[in-house]
Amino acid sequence: MVNVGVNKIATQAGNIRLMNNLEADLRDRLNKKPILLMTHLVLGYPSLDTNYEVIRQMAENGVDCIEMQIPFSEPMADGPIIVAANQKSLSKGITVEDSFQFAERVIKEFPQVNFLFMTYYNIVFRYGEERFIKRSTDIGIKGFIVPDLPPEEGETYIRISKEHGMAPIQFFTPTSSDERMREVAAIGGGFIYCVARRGVTGTKLELDTDLVQYLQRCRAATELPLAVGFGISSREDIQMLTGKVEMAVIGTATIRLVDEKGADKVASFMKKLQ
């Protein structure tokens, strides 16, 4: 195994754990602020130009990670807004190649942000797992979020990702047993994406006792940073999460904002959040 960009970290239990680039970067940032911010967008929706503008405003307003979703025709795990964005992007003809080229450009221009690819497994599979991961590494992508690739099916993908110092982001969910969480955490890298609730993306949730308990379970299961999103749209939402998880995820909210008010409003929205 070529341990490109992987640091060693001492676990609470005193063991040595490998920490990849992304995790190391997030830990650095966490030294400077109590909670990080990850945002999401669908490449090509409403256009690559708008994506660029949105990313610029995010980058200039303290966003730590951006998941760029390469659109797929069967976005099984997404909610209606993101599904529609995937379709519209595809119907305009965006290709995987377009996504790579665009990613390469923004990664270069906004080095202060960790960029991740979010997509479905068929995109990776068809491109060729190794080739996809290699090219992503080459252009500076830090990790992958592939919701329809569970660890059991993703052995090769995880192995190759790690070989390239890539974070194959894994999921915790409210239905995961403690045991399953530990299993998944052992495989994951970068951070753990904690799915806040049953269901697909896009609905607002209360930070109720169930959710708090769930996040406690997540925390107990891993030492990786935790990211969580549940329809966050205000500074208060984020403050509530501080101390519970390491990163707040803004999912559908920015897409909705850009749809309704235009890309210009992203900067002020990001500012208001922090």
Binding site: F72, S73, E74, P75, M76, A77, G79, P80, V83, A84, Q87, L90, T95, V96, Y120, Y121, N122, I123, F125, R126, Y127, P147, D148, L149, P150, E152, E153, Q170, F171, F172, T173, P174, T175, S176, S177, R180, V184, V195, R198, G199, V200
Partner: protein, 407 residues
């Protein structure tokens, strides 16, 4: 081989949130499979509720017409709700009962699987939601009507191509929300493990019967068995009776307007499909080079799907199943001939199997027998068939019905 894999095909590509649900499902399924009383109960339900065993009808007129092989037709059309879909839904229904769940969801394209599921849900007392592409809701209104009357809620899916694959996605979205109460009754031998294996198991009832019946009636194994292939459930169902025998198995896909037109749904025959992974499993998918699924076409709504059972992809790759394709036009011709000579009305899906059998029967010996799996009955397709035949009185009838409503 890894569990849930058939050669390189299959797998269980599900979002993490469904991990536990699948573990429970696999456990329940494996327990049922290990428990011979389960299969016994299944056979009893199918006998008491759905007229099984379905006959293997000797088609003496078609046999004479072609003057070659002896032609037998396996009559899945005589099932409750008129197709082999009943086998799968009743089996899953029994499993749902065992799991103690109270709500079922299903995707449906043509509506046959939706009607079958609604029927099963009514019979077992489950709440039922059926996801159906909006296009299909519009085209298959009669089935929507029956689902609703059977007490199911039909949810039109407005995403993507608004057809079967989109309905599957939407069903998964429901499932990841309500997995605790809900079982997703997948309609064919596709999707993540354990669905392909499980659905194939329930559908094996077709092949078990057909095997016994052909030996009874023909005295020996058939030379060939023909089945249409959408997802592949009726094909695998009947093929399982003959896998270990020297019997040629022929799967017939939707050739649509021709394999060279791009308007078809052939995954194995022709060269437009490629390996892929989506909707929870790995198989040959009709997709572009980026991996985006493409639009398919068939006169038979039930064959109009991008993927194929991983079990069939494997059997095809290994050469155990030969794949052919039938065009829309060939299908109508075979349907016409079958109606006139034997008095049975195969579904448009099933008619695909007849097409290929008719091409080959004349060149076979009268000493050989073939079985055509008639997966369903065609009267469900009246709107499509009447349109395809361009029947003027039907048009008049529909127009006058419409005028009646407009008043």
């Amino acid at each position: 081989m890894k569990k849930g894999y058939f050669g390189q095909w299959g797998g269980m590509f599900v979002p993490e949130i469904l991990h536990e649900t699948f573990m429970q499902l696999i456990e329940a399924y494996e327990a049922a499979r290990a428990d011979s009383t389960f299969w016994q109960e299944y056979l009893e339900v199918m006998a008491n509720y759905s007229a099984r065993p379905t006959p293997l009808t000797y088609a003496h007129n078609l046999t004479k017409h072609f003057g070659g092989a002896q032609i037998y037709i396996k009559r899945e059309d005589l099932n409750q709700t008129g197709a082999h879909k009943a086998n799968n839904v009743m089996g899953q229904g029994l499993l749902v009962k065992r799991m103690g769940k109270k709500r079922v969801i299903a995707e449906t394209g043509a509506g046959q699987h939706g009607v079958a599921t609604a029927t099963m849900a009514a019979r077992f007392g489950f709440e039922c939601v059926v996801y159906m592409g909006e296009e299909d809701v519009i085209r298959q209104r009669p089935n929507v009507f029956w689902m609703e009357k059977l007490g199911a809620k039909v949810v039109p899916v407005r995403d993507g191509a608004r057809t079967l694959k989109d309905a599957i996605n939407e069903a998964f979205r429901d499932w990841v929300t309500l997995m605790d109460s809900t079982h997703y009754v997948l309609g064919t031998v596709c999707g993540p493990h354990p669905f392909p294996e499980m659905v194939a198991w329930f559908q094996s009832i077709i092949g078990q019967e057909a095997r016994r019946q052909i030996i009874d009636q023909h005295g020996k194994m058939p030379a060939r068995v023909y089945a249409c292939v959408g997802g592949g459930s009726n094909a695998i169902g009947v093929f399982q009776g003959f896998l270990d025998e020297d019997v040629e198995l022929v799967g017939v896909e939707a050739g649509g307007k021709g394999l060279d037109t791009g308007q078809h749904a052939s995954r194995m025959k022709g060269d437009r499909a490629a390996p892929g992974v989506t909707q929870g499993y790995k198989t040959m998918f009709l997709q572009n080079k980026d991996g985006q699924m493409i639009d398919t076409h068939s006169i038979a709504a039930g064959l109009d799907y991008v993927g194929i059972s991983p079990i069939l992809a494997d059997l095809g790759e290994k050469g155990r199943v030969r794949f052919e394709a039938a065009t829309d036009t060939e299908v109508l011709d075979a349907l016409t001939l079958t109606m006139r000579t034997e008095g049975v009305i195969p579904a448009l899906e099933s008619s695909h199997a007849f097409v290929q059998a008719f091409k080959e029967a004349p060149n076979m010996s009268p000493d050989e027998a073939i079985i055509i799996n008639m997966s369903g009955r065609g009267d469900k397709d009246i709107f499509t068939i009447a349109k395809a035949y361009d029947d003027p009185s039907w048009k008049e009838f529909i127009i006058s019905q419409a005028d009646g409503f407009r008043k």
